[in-house]
Symmetry: D2
Subunit: 401 residues, 4 copies
Amino acid sequence: MTERNISIEAADRTAVEDQQVEIVERKGIGHPDSISDGIAESVSRALSNLYLDRVGKVLHYNTDETQLVAGEAAPAFGGGEVVEPIYILLVGRATKKYDGKRLPVDSVALEAARDYLNEHVPELEFGTDVVVDVKLGEGSGDLQDVFGEENVQVPMANDTSFGVGHAPLTETEEIVLNVERELNSTYVETNPHLGPDVKVMGKREGDSIDITVAAAMVDSYIADIEEYEDAVDAVEEFAGEVARQYTDRNVDVAVNTADDYDEGSIYLTVTGTSAEQGDDGSVGRGNRANGLITPNRPMSMEATSGKNPVNHIGKIYNLLSTDIAETVVDEVEGIRDLQIRLLSQIGRPIDEPHVADAKIVTDDGVVLSDIEADVEAIVDDRLANVTDITRQAINGDLTTF
Amino acid sequence: MTERNISIEAADRTAVEDQQVEIVERKGIGHPDSISDGIAESVSRALSNLYLDRVGKVLHYNTDETQLVAGEAAPAFGGGEVVEPIYILLVGRATKKYDGKRLPVDSVALEAARDYLNEHVPELEFGTDVVVDVKLGEGSGDLQDVFGEENVQVPMANDTSFGVGHAPLTETEEIVLNVERELNSTYVETNPHLGPDVKVMGKREGDSIDITVAAAMVDSYIADIEEYEDAVDAVEEFAGEVARQYTDRNVDVAVNTADDYDEGSIYLTVTGTSAEQGDDGSVGRGNRANGLITPNRPMSMEATSGKNPVNHIGKIYNLLSTDIAETVVDEVEGIRDLQIRLLSQIGRPIDEPHVADAKIVTDDGVVLSDIEADVEAIVDDRLANVTDITRQAINGDLTTF
Amino acid sequence: MTERNISIEAADRTAVEDQQVEIVERKGIGHPDSISDGIAESVSRALSNLYLDRVGKVLHYNTDETQLVAGEAAPAFGGGEVVEPIYILLVGRATKKYDGKRLPVDSVALEAARDYLNEHVPELEFGTDVVVDVKLGEGSGDLQDVFGEENVQVPMANDTSFGVGHAPLTETEEIVLNVERELNSTYVETNPHLGPDVKVMGKREGDSIDITVAAAMVDSYIADIEEYEDAVDAVEEFAGEVARQYTDRNVDVAVNTADDYDEGSIYLTVTGTSAEQGDDGSVGRGNRANGLITPNRPMSMEATSGKNPVNHIGKIYNLLSTDIAETVVDEVEGIRDLQIRLLSQIGRPIDEPHVADAKIVTDDGVVLSDIEADVEAIVDDRLANVTDITRQAINGDLTTF
Amino acid sequence: MTERNISIEAADRTAVEDQQVEIVERKGIGHPDSISDGIAESVSRALSNLYLDRVGKVLHYNTDETQLVAGEAAPAFGGGEVVEPIYILLVGRATKKYDGKRLPVDSVALEAARDYLNEHVPELEFGTDVVVDVKLGEGSGDLQDVFGEENVQVPMANDTSFGVGHAPLTETEEIVLNVERELNSTYVETNPHLGPDVKVMGKREGDSIDITVAAAMVDSYIADIEEYEDAVDAVEEFAGEVARQYTDRNVDVAVNTADDYDEGSIYLTVTGTSAEQGDDGSVGRGNRANGLITPNRPMSMEATSGKNPVNHIGKIYNLLSTDIAETVVDEVEGIRDLQIRLLSQIGRPIDEPHVADAKIVTDDGVVLSDIEADVEAIVDDRLANVTDITRQAINGDLTTF
């Protein structure tokens, strides 16, 4: 091992890409759990920036517990209505007073939540379709570790925590991730009938990939059942096209499979999210830091969204391990499957983990020893620049869910 | 007495205008109690209209319990900020389901509250400076008394209730009422530094009238202490001008008397209402139905704002008695002081009160018997048309506070 | 006038006892508005005592805004159940930190509310039939006026406020007050089927008094409709007996007149309060400081319950004026009707009011000048000892509703 | 594969017991996330039983979203106090009306939460140290799948979901699990100074096991710093003894390593849980269904606690896969590491999964083919009896966290 306790070894298992059965899921941006994640992280960024603006450094806070209580809606072709609003409670801790001065943390948190909702769930009318309330307790004083305008310290680990990252994504993972992302960006631009609550499930058995999409349709853009069927078909076609960019395997796409046209039971919504009708949500219950739920891979239980990016090791290590894995695979040839795990060491700076271990499945014909040094150098470098993660998280350059 | 139990007699007291000491108060539109009243009544109107639109008649509801929990603010010359938002809870009962169909009462209530705040406390940013939440319980089923599109019934009294109205207003009452109204309409148009939380207290001793105004100034329009002093002086001058339109007595006006410039303690606010800093509010704690608090006159304890105008006798009788008193004084010469009191009779239509008694102080030289018949005719007519009050309340043509 | 600005004059009106029509109402201890009043005052006493215990003086607070949101219940002979709990929000301001030490104001407020409910609405199970939550904002710092263990100051008036008291009670007032009190003490001891939500309305026309009682019956003590009828009859009989102790006039008592046995609509409850089914409540909307609502008499709009008894002039003057009126009538013979009004003078100690005026109707054969000096002496003495009111309020020796 | 799609194969990896680095964590019963889990599951059981009692079958509900907002406390040797209560919001869906009858779901949920807290966090005074509120939306009608008194159906899978179970536990897992359990049962019986918030982290490198315990001490049982040190030492000794029952490897135990005696920073609490001071909690963020967080093993993200045990596949499959794994290892010799994974098949009964795959690492000298049939028989049998899981969950015979 190196000074930074970096360990690189061959994985004692088959690459996920080569396992017989693979399951992957992504809860789209408008899913109630993702809404909670998104708000929590958005509030976190807003507080970091508030502290930097007002006192020149990030103070103690954690806003990783947004709770969404579902509403009730009466969707209807051509436009229905929300009858019982969604209720969102922003929960966490924040420093409200510094140097004798009150800081508007509650108002800033509410503003961040409102802006996030307006941008990402635009059909949801703030204040009438959704009520946002806030309970941020007083934080326990100043944050010892400093991340400020003028100086940056590498914080100490004050907890045993664990982060894990993987690269490259398998084909199924790429498909699941990108189908949701493309639907919620390219597709929706010209197809406003698609709501942001798009859930994608991928299942691969051998070389056969099934993609199941649950896509909330927005009723005001859909006049009748024929238009609904057209909308479903269009999503199916688009998703298939996206999927086939990432694989030569056989791909089947099914959209809104729970629909029952005879019963009149279809996935029609007023606002584009199932939160309007019975689906509650909370932080850390959905996608991991890489945007996916991957039962074939070790995952961290830690909720990344909403945590303080200056000193919360769980957040930093989850983001950092993902970043390292991606960087290694970008820069080093010959890796079929890479897992990076970071384990903190209480009382030591977080750039000196208890152990940073890389488990690698190499491509056929590649020997681990050939690439070991390159991998280690990258791991070492990324650890040395751990505070980049904090900066990127504050700037919103990293996704957390 | 008539069939309607109308009793007209001479008052056994001096006219209020002629009493030695008179006290009058008005909490302006931006006072926390008035905000609660205003929202409650605005929600009530919105629900009445929702029911009329959807089912053709007004269903059971009462929304007379809005609770406002004050926030915390940090005002500053040139513009401060709210640091802890105001919290407003809409409380009441409403029918949420009718004929198998869900009615969006919560969303409609929230929308009414939001619109009301945006119009009347415009500096208060909805969703960040103020959080509005709602708890409307299920009403106890259908309303027996019908006020619908096609037919209107006079409801039965199901409670012993009491309303009281007075006319004409004394000079002091006119001054207190109009100083607030003019400040919050004419004056504020060209003087945006004045917030809507204007509280006016009038005290008359003999022929000497003291008007005390507490006027919340909006910090973003006020650069420094000099501008603040100018603003206070301008309000004082304007209030004096208004006052002198209503009296030849001596009037002294004082504005923001609690200010202490040396201590830096002035009435500067971010949003124009003291609700931003520690002043809670609720319905029915401020102005009576005629817009005033008048300890020299009998008053009803009943909260008028937010009550269902179809069948809530307390609301109807308070509005009606005020309306009757004003109509009589408009149309009949020679009345110096008139009090109309309506007392309901359980189990009888509300146009047949248990007693409707008028107590009159006539002008010098006028004998009660000369005007008695005219007064009675008006009382009788207004009672006969009691459902006008419901219509006017729903249309927002009557003020309730 | 004296140094304390005491004015004593003959009332320019008939004694209320001699007016033709008189209306009096009392909302019993279990009425939703009274529950709010009772909790607010109980929380106030608890905070006063907390401050006295911890820092030796009463700090700034006001807890006069308890909001009760009604629940839903399914009463049934032999015992039904609450299906939707009552929600009570304690609202106000309190000093949470003093001299660097945190004070448990929220926990103490919750405890006071819980204990109050357990004592006064015992059938209401805390935590399941009723949820109590709290929102006490930070008070604006230290209270200037000192009421401490070792020294007591007379506070300065910082607001124009007004209190009014009356004595003696009329027969109708005595009846209304005592019927409720006796039912909720003597009667209930041996008749647990009576709930605390007893509302008493008295109406006197000439020498004929109608007493209407709405009495919530507790279902677990009532097996069937016959027992219910017996219970109603027993209350009626008891109320009649109480009433006749206070008058020789003709008294009619009616209990639960809104019952409709054919429709099965009776006043049966699970918990003994209408708050369980649709009746919301808040502070200051019910009884005045003397326990009654008396439209025949001037009343203060000020909510007395929950206000800080050290320096809230409205509270102090309402309690004090009532206390003065009762003391005068106790000690001076020959008074048929007495009204005491206290008006504060901003910037002066509250024992020096702007005006303290007594309006007296003497008994036949008594001349005002004979008793004037005695009355004035008592008024002067009570004003001089104004801080007694604070002490009594903190000790719970004064009722506020 | 069998009719039930059971697949049994050798794992393509080393048994976790034989991997170089292993990490295991358990959040004890008093940890904020575990409190949320425990309440959610307790509410779920109460609702199942309510429905069985009242209508003979379990109706639609999900109560898997309890949100805990931390309080603030001022612990002190000999007994401190909670200054800002913990706030717990019960969130979910439930059927409130059935066959025209209202069901007391809110009251029952609150009662379950209260009873759970009283039993498991006894130092936390309900109603003053903690406020519990509830927001259960209306469920979307009747549950198709029937689990009633008289008949039981195997429900259909209506979602693609996934469960995973493992057995046997590794030594480190046994230690982590049992140290917490023994501390919170045997130890606490005679040592009331130990609070239920005991977090245990295990880390094994090769044959060296480090156990880190964070144990909240209850201040009222601890007089001074010496007693605190004794308490920490006693926990350390006890944990060591427990640990050594499960391994011959070298075990080091450390308790409350974040304490800093010089700074006066120790893990002293009023109530025995860190929820009293800044640690929020929510459901599904802590232990998996087997009571552990095991980053070395695939885990499901699904929150098990609070889900409806009749038809929520995620819950059923997580509990069932754990149950199968344990049963297999109990009854079949020669298994060093077993993973059972169940994947649902939309539209098919849940006893016919899309795939049930077992991955086995056998003991040295054991060949997979020797035990394959036995394993398959057990898997098949447990699947056939899947509704046992529902019954056990309702009865509280299964732990979910």
